[in-house]
């Protein structure tokens, strides 16, 4: 380690406890970082594409997750290496921004790093490499823009959207019924989409799962499902044309926030207090009844007495409903969330055509369906499946499909999938290393599908050049054609662009690091 000395020959202490730290500098640092980044991307590489494999992850508490969603794998992987963590961040930001392509972005970054290493070995300065990548990524993004297609869809013609969602779902374990799931996702998004503003609030789509049944039973419900049951076992299980009071105050005696004491020192006071209490309960229920509510949904608990009074007055009620659900119910039924009994008015009630309680299986599980709501802008995707891991994985897949559908509504440009877009970009320009890195995505696809990677890739490339057709990609499903337009394999333009940009950025960042100081092992 380099040391500076003062005029008496004593070393300056630059790093505290210098001896106990390990330090990598210069090319070594870059190489070690690259190796780490590549190692992460290699883990994900086999998960890419319709024939990609899954990873099984065991959390510190012993829970099992089986998934091939890049973001989920990296999130749960317990990565300790700093560069590894950067890659984790990378896929997470793709997940937040786009929701899909989380595996692809990491594979892309890994490939870029591999290429960068080769250039570094030839003595090219890392910054030059980084700049080169930057320029080429811009070209690639522009090129994508050129080869992209706009396609038309409307509220009645959702077929193109369904096709794109199917591309996303086909790489997941749920590809057995990708068609129906894609339709569910698209219908769900269309139901809540604001086509004027080209925006979709995914918060309005709730994804619920329950083990049991089979994947085919998964359904889209134009309404809300709440994992709760009626507060009193003898309340009616089905309410038609329900008027719902949505409360965030408990059916309990008031608890003022200020600290206070109510002192009882005489018998009379004791009795009046008792009387008050009784009246309070009565009032609460009466108020709900007065405004015409036929169902009370409450964020808090009920006192036994209140519960009975509600039941007695024939006013079904649900307690302990979570805040998020409460908001969704309010949106769906067009009601207002009421924080105090005094403010309850008939206009603030939500309306739903049908509220029913449904039991599952042989256990006591019950769920509350709120359907035919006044405002159908909130929907629920209700997933069934053979086991817990399956449900979780399906949830993630549906989330991806929802994101894709949303992106398409925002920007209806698509590029062709199956590696076609990457191949087309790589043909388009000449910064070799970057082009090679782009090729790695179709290579991985071919590899995972059990095809000869190099042979297949060059064949497809040749075809693209010859036919001037940017739709040729890797035929993963043995469908017999390379033309992704015929196979209906689409991806969103923004998703692809984002992938390239994000991957390039991370690679740039990694390349610029030339000194790694870390506490050595003890």
């Amino acid at each position: 380690m380099a040391l500076a000395f003062d005029e008496y020959g004593r070393p300056f202490i630059i790093l505290r406890e210098q001896e106990s730290k390990s330090r990598l500098r210069g090319l070594d640092a870059q190489k070690s970082n690259i190796a780490a980044g590549v190692a992460v991307s290699r883990i994900l590489r086999t998960s890419l594409g319709p024939k990609g494999m899954d990873k099984m992850l065991q959390s510190p508490d012993g829970d099992i997750t089986i998934t091939n969603d890049g973001a989920t794998i990296l999130e749960q992987m317990d990565v300790d290496n700093q560069i590894g963590k950067l890659m984790v961040e990378l896929s997470r930001s793709q997940d937040y921004e786009i929701g899909d392509g989380t595996t692809g972005v990491v594979v892309m970054a890994g490939a870029l790093l591999e290429q960068a290493e080769r250039l570094l070995e030839r003595g090219i300065h890392p910054i030059r490499v980084a700049e080169g990548f930057e320029i080429s990524s811009r070209i690639a993004v522009d090129h994508l823009e050129q080869i992209s297609h706009k396609f038309d869809f409307s509220a009645t013609n959702i077929e193109p959207l369904v096709q794109t969602c199917m591309t996303t779902l086909s790489s997941k374990i749920v590809n057995r019924c990708k068609r129906s799931l894609a339709e569910i996702a698209v219908k769900g998004v269309m139901a809540v989409a604001d086509l004027e503003r080209k925006d979709v609030n995914l918060d309005l789509i709730k994804v619920e799962g329950k083990v049991g049944g089979k994947l085919e039973d998964t359904e889209l419900i134009y309404g809300i499902i709440v994992d709760k049951d009626m507060s009193h076992p003898q309340m009616p299980k089905q309410i038609e044309d329900a008027k719902i009071a949505i409360l965030t105050c408990p059916f309990e005696p008031p608890k003022p926030k200020t600290k206070h004491k109510v002192d009882i020192d005489t018998v009379e006071k004791f009795q009046t207090l008792r009387e008050q209490e009784r009246k309070y309960f009565d009032d609460m229920v009466q108020r709900c009844k007065d405004v015409g509510a036929t169902l009370v949904i409450c964020q808090w608990g009920f006192d036994d007495e209140a519960n009975h009074l509600l039941m007695h007055r024939n006013l079904p009620a649900v307690r302990w409903v979570g805040g998020v659900e409460l908001e969704l119910i309010a949106i769906a039924t067009g009601g207002r969330i009421v924080p105090r009994f005094q403010e309850l008015t008939p206009e603030k009630l939500g309306k739903a055509g049908l509220v029913r309680e449904k039991a599952f299986g042989t256990t006591k599980d019950r769920m509350l369906y709120i359907e035919h709501c006044a405002n159908s802008r909130a929907v629920t995707v209700f997933i069934r499946g053979g086991n817990k891991m399956m449900i979780e994985e399906t949830k993630r897949s549906i989330h991806d499909a929802l994101c894709v559908a949303r992106n398409l509504i925002r920007n209806n440009s698509i590029v062709y999938g199956g590696g076609a877009a990457e191949i087309s970009c790589s043909i388009a320009y000449a910064i070799r290393a970057f082009a090679d890195a782009l090729d790695s995505v179709p290579m991985a696809l071919a590899e995972n599908s059990g095809l000869q990677p190099i042979e297949t890739l060059s064949a497809v490339k040749a075809q693209q050049i010859k036919e001037k057709n940017p739709c040729c990609g890797i035929d993963c499903n043995d469908a017999g054609t390379n033309d992704m337009r015929e196979q209906n394999v689409f991806e969103t333009l923004i998703g692809k662009q984002q992938q390239i940009l994000l991957a390039t950025q991370v690679v740039k960042m990694i390349l610029k690091i030339d000194d790694v100081i870390s506490p050595s092992e003890y």
């Binding site: 990873k55 009795q271 007695h312 299986g361 059990g450």
Partner: protein, 576 residues
């Protein structure tokens, strides 16, 4: 019946460590690649994961999951079928309590497993238990067999994805084969009942109750049929809550009986009538100890002893008033969920009212359901509270315990099954078995499609799948073939467990099934191939379908995995 953590033979705990070591002596492709990568980078990749986190790749990962899943399947395999054996589970908790069972879900729930793939299998068995109640062993055995076959295929270099697509085709084909052969006797009440009887007997025959299976099958069918009649109000209720099972040690299993009324495991308060005819019952959930003022922050502050006495008097007065109000409902029986203190109890006794305290929540709900009353918590409007009614309340003795018996109730939905048996273990197991039977029956009431049993459905499926394999071109056909072999493993195991010559029997069965519409299955009692229709061995379609689908799903999930990443286990303080 909470599952207690139990230990099992140490072999299961970490099969992957022992097995992978032997299997992957020769270096795998991925290892070589990694080394090459490290060398080409010039620098060893610094550790990527946290300490103690491990990573298994490719072949190794697959091997670890195969071995784990198969170990689990083999563990429960011997409990399958009418001659299956039981397992003893000893809890590691205090007292080392012992459970004897042959219920797959119960066994698996109590195991501590470290292998991720094994956990998937345990999960499907749990779901099977929650969803249909029976077939918990079969689903694990089938999934295990599917993986065992898959392992062989992987060894011959067939890609897991190909195997999966073959399995999917096979599962679809098997399901439609079953659908073709289902029987539905929903229209004919008489036949339907006999179907239910058969299903109940088949389920029970593999359990401890097999000696008295007819007796218990009748019990279970009666109980479920009562449910069905009254629950037609809301569609397809599988609400087993209203069937109460009370376990009392003593007597023999044969002494168990179904009671039309309702039995509450409680004692009658002192000095209160022991027998009431034409009872009006108020079912309540209210505090009968000290009725606190619920207004927040209220407290009593007094300055003299006399005041204390006054307040106490007021409190008593309040309680007395409450009791008076309750009595004012015109009742002669009061059942409360919470405690009743001596003072109100005395008041009730004075009024000649039977007061029962501390009935647990389920008891209260059931009682309300049975007697048609509502669960009350306020008592200001006596005219509008619905009271429960029954013809007779009396104290009865079962064995040494006194119980309260409500007979002649209004609603016939609920009933009580009293189980008698020599020991607690027998009773526990009997309850589990009966629960299985009840679950299956209630599911069958909803979905009345019925199949034959005794390995018949597996043979039918295997035949259809075999035919599909012959028609399918490509590598997939190997996987389809493997699926049919895995299906055959279930009758094979049943025969093996019964000590029969499985190879011979299965071959005979196959030949039988080659004929159209054969009803042949394994007759375990005589040890030969028999006509399942005549023997009256039936199973519910819903159970078989669930077994088939979730086993395939689980196998598919495990097959898709090519890498296992285990995080460092969270450190816990040793509480021992």
């Amino acid at each position: 019946m909470k599952p207690t953590p139990t230990t099992c033979s140490p072999k299961i705990h970490q099969p992957q460590t022992t097995s992978t070591r032997t299997v992957s002596r020769g270096r795998t492709q991925s290892e070589i690649e990694e080394e090459w990568l490290a060398r080409s980078a010039g620098i060893q990749v610094e550790r990527l994961f946290k300490d103690e986190a491990t990573e298994e790749k490719g072949e190794r990962a697959r091997m670890a999951s195969f071995v784990g899943a198969m170990a689990i399947a083999d563990l429960v395999k011997t409990t399958l079928g009418p001659k299956g054996m039981d397992k003893i589970l000893q809890s590691t908790g205090r007292g080392h309590s012992v459970t004897v069972t042959n219920d797959g879900a119960t066994i698996l729930k109590s195991l501590h497993i470290d292998n991720p793939a094994a956990k998937v299998l345990i999960d499907i068995s749990k779901v099977q238990d929650d969803e249909v109640g029976d077939g918990t062993t079969s689903v694990v055995v089938l999934a295990g067999e599917l993986l065992r076959e898959a392992e062989k295929l992987v060894a011959t270099k067939i890609h897991p994805m190909t195997i999966i697509s073959g399995y999917r085709m096979a599962a679809d084909c098997a399901r439609s084969a079953l659908l073709e052969r289902v029987m539905d006797n929903k229209e004919d009440a008489e036949k339907f009942r006999s179907d239910l009887m058969k299903i109940a007997m088949t389920t029970l025959s593999s359990k401890i109750l097999s000696q008295d299976k007819e007796h218990f099958a009748t019990l279970a069918v009666d109980a479920v049929m009562r449910l069905k009649v009254s629950s037609s109000l809301y569609f397809g209720s599988t609400n087993l809550e209203s069937i109460q099972i009370i376990k009392k040690a003593g007597g023999s299993l044969k002494d168990s009986f179904l009671d039309e009324g309702f039995i509450l495991d409680k004692k009658i308060g002192l000095g209160q009538p022991k027998r009431i005819e034409n009872a009006n019952i108020l079912v309540a959930n209210t505090a009968m100890d000290t009725d606190k003022v619920k207004i927040y922050g209220a407290r009593v502050r007094v300055d003299s002893m006399a005041k204390v006495a006054q307040i106490e008097g007021a409190e008593k007065e309040k309680m007395r008033e409450k009791v008076q109000k309750i009595i004012g409902h015109g009742i002669n029986c009061f059942v409360n969920r919470q405690l009743i203190y001596n003072f109100p109890e005395e008041l009730f006794a004075d009024a000649g009212i039977l007061a029962i305290e501390h009935a647990d929540f389920d008891g209260i709900e059931r009682l309300a359901l049975v007697t048609g009353g509502e669960i009350a918590s306020t008592f200001d409007n006596p005219e509008s509270v619905k009271l429960g009614h029954c013809k007779l309340i009396e104290e009865i003795m079962i064995g040494e315990d006194k119980l309260i018996h409500f007979s002649g109730v209004e609603m016939g939905q609920a009933c009580t099954i009293v189980l008698r048996g020599a020991s607690f273990h027998v009773l526990d197991e009997a309850e589990r078995s009966l629960h299985d039977a009840l679950c299956v029956l209630s599911q069958t009431v909803n979905d009345s499609r019925v199949l034959l049993g005794g390995g018949w459905p597996e043979m039918v499926m295997a035949k259809a799948v075999d035919e599909l394999a012959r028609k399918t071109p490509g590598k997939k056909s190997h996987a389809i073939d493997a699926f049919s072999r895995a299906l055959l493993a279930i009758p094979t195991t049943i025969a093996d467990n019964a000590g029969l010559d499985s190879a011979e029997l299965i071959a005979q069965l196959r030949a039988e099934h080659h004929k159209e519409n054969s009803n042949a299955g394994i007759d375990v009692i005589t040890g030969s191939v028999g006509d399942m229709g005549e023997l009256g061995i039936s199973e519910a379609f819903k159970v078989k379908q669930a077994v088939l689908l979730s086993a395939t799903e689980a196998a598919e999930m495990i097959l898709r995995v090519d890498e296992i990443i285990t995080c460092a286990p969270r450190r816990r303080e040793d509480r021992m």
